[in-house]
Symmetry: C2
Subunit: 331 residues, 2 copies
């Protein structure tokens, strides 16, 4: 059997059986942004890991090494944010081809440390090894949360408001600029969003402490894919209003300039690292206020419905189904 | 600057500065088999990770996929054993070339699960991604220990007895058989020790609960290298009696048959995954009895001395210095 026939999520489903031999210490295993394990009576441990492979996730010609370091930590911080937790300790494994300069490695670690410093994370250990060809970085992150504040993908309920904590699409445009070597006024800002994402930990903590949201995820696979994860896990569907998807003026100008489908870029590429949540209508205004008074964003983009699948309501009122899928590593 | 001039341990020393931004939650960061972090009042969290890269750490033609899965978990379990702790939760990251068959992956995960099951470890999460060429597996393991039982590399004191919990060398011979395609009566047993090591968690727990040992490490880089780590970190040296290094009859027969330097194979290759500890003379007999009455091994191989470096006393009474180094990934 071929992996691409199974797909990334089919493969994960195949791994899942019999992974928990001591289920009493695990609140949630495989299947969310983090796993959630029991630690002290009122706190839980959040665990997450991300593997970045040169030639797949990054190209050293396209990303400065310090930003690669920052991003390798940031993507894990974003997973902790998506559960409503605090990040604590990081382990960094690195496999290094013998052509890599020590100065490049220094810059990678400087980037990791700067991101870790900004979010109070210790780099407590790791593994260093050789690689035959590609640079490989794995970060495992341990976080903490109050059990009653943890937000899962699986909690969305019919009639919930679907919201984002920031605009989407800039990262997709930035990637496009890098891959196509395009020149564009303001391209640096788009590229920067792709290379140096800010994990929405502050937003995640505000949403968690408000205790109003029903579900949360970070937008890494793309809005459609990640909303698809929430809906599939919650047994619901969603309707998103195309006009309400938050994007920047720069992003829209870029798409217009190069004739790109802005909605596709904003929904199906990913690496936005904003948070996507669902909250009941009667708590939405309070949550919005809490986020906005802290200088954070709250963008209503749609609503949870009973009917499975994700539908997009266009500006003219017409509705179409969109594929609830984003990035699939084995497709 | 080239990485090979710096070496693996020089590179790790270069990473270490400014890694702890919240030192109050960390008892030990980079530099031992696990990092040790504060969790509940009487328990500490142990964190460890190991990155296995195809073409460097394993060749799929040489190791059956289920044993690769077992070993990827076992090497991390061995790190938990070396601190005197209990393993709890594992995260598995995997980067997969598109030529890999799903059946191979199923076997890898079956092996991981079988090893995890034997030692009560949950596989709670991970990451799955594509790889341009080589299979890459990273395992991060979370364990637990009682703070007062944790054993570090840095605790060895002058006059301590140096001991091992099992024979060394079989794994090196097994690797040699695989690399040289050698045929030898009993080769399966040697190859098996290399491919399917048993983490000495039981031994680690007995040594920890006895509270007599001063230091501990697992033998992964080779007896000389790992004893070298203990001595360097403890600011001491060691004298090892060559005749007391425990090896199997099969190992000695193999070395004799192919004219190999048995002492070098037993001390400088590694992947033995037995434990090496130091204990004061007046507690050694009690510890030996505790281990042996549980069916575990205790082999005195030498003594900690003030003078730095590692010396080997040969059968004829002569003494020579040996390099306190084993495997170095960037050498």
């Amino acid at each position: 059997m071929k992996l691409k026939d199974l797909g990334e999520f089919g493969f994960i489903d195949r791994i899942r059986p019999e992974t928990l031999v001591r289920p009493e210490s695990v609140i949630l295993g495989i299947g969310d942004d983090c796993s959630v394990c029991r630690s002290s009576p009122d706190r839980v441990t959040l665990l997450t890991t991300d593997l970045l492979v040169g030639g797949v996730h990054f190209h050293l010609e396209k990303i400065p090494p310090d930003l690669l370091g920052r991003k390798s930590i940031a993507v894990n911080l974003s997973d902790i944010a998506a559960m409503g937790g605090f990040p604590k300790q990081a382990l960094v494994s690195i496999a290094i081809p013998d052509t890599t300069r020590v100065e490049t490695l220094d810059a990678i670690y400087e980037g990791m440390k700067s991101m870790a410093r900004e979010f109070d994370v210790n780099l407590v250990g790791g593994d260093t090894t050789a690689s035959p060809e590609h640079l490989v970085i794995n970060v495992a992150l341990v976080g903490e949360a109050r059990e009653e504040e943890v937000l899962y993908r699986s909690g969305a309920l019919k009639d919930d408001v679907v919201f984002l904590t920031g605009p989407v699409g800039d990262s997709a445009a930035g990637l496009d600029i890098l891959l196509e070597n395009r020149s564009f006024d303001g391209k640096d800002s788009l590229v920067q969003t792709h290379l140096n994402p800010r994990p929405h930990l502050k937003e995640g903590r505000i949403i968690a402490t408000q205790k109003a949201a029903h579900s949360m995820i970070d937008v890494s696979d793309g809005l459609a894919g990640d909303l698809g994860h929430v809906c599939a896990r919650s047994g619901v569907g969603a309707i998103v209003e195309e006009a309400r998807i938050p994007t920047t003026e720069l992003f829209r100008a870029y798409c217009e300039r190069f004739g790109l489908d802005a909605t596709r870029l904003a929904t199906h590429v990913g690496e936005d690292y904003v948070l996507l949540g669902t909250v009941p209508e009667n708590s939405a205004a309070t949550l919005e206020k809490a986020l906005e008074s802290a200088g954070c964003g709250f963008y209503r983009i749609g609503r949870i419905v009973e009917e499975p699948g994700i539908r997009l309501t266009a500006r003219d009122g017409s509705t179409r189904k969109i594929k609830p899928s984003g990035w699939n590593h084995f497709a």
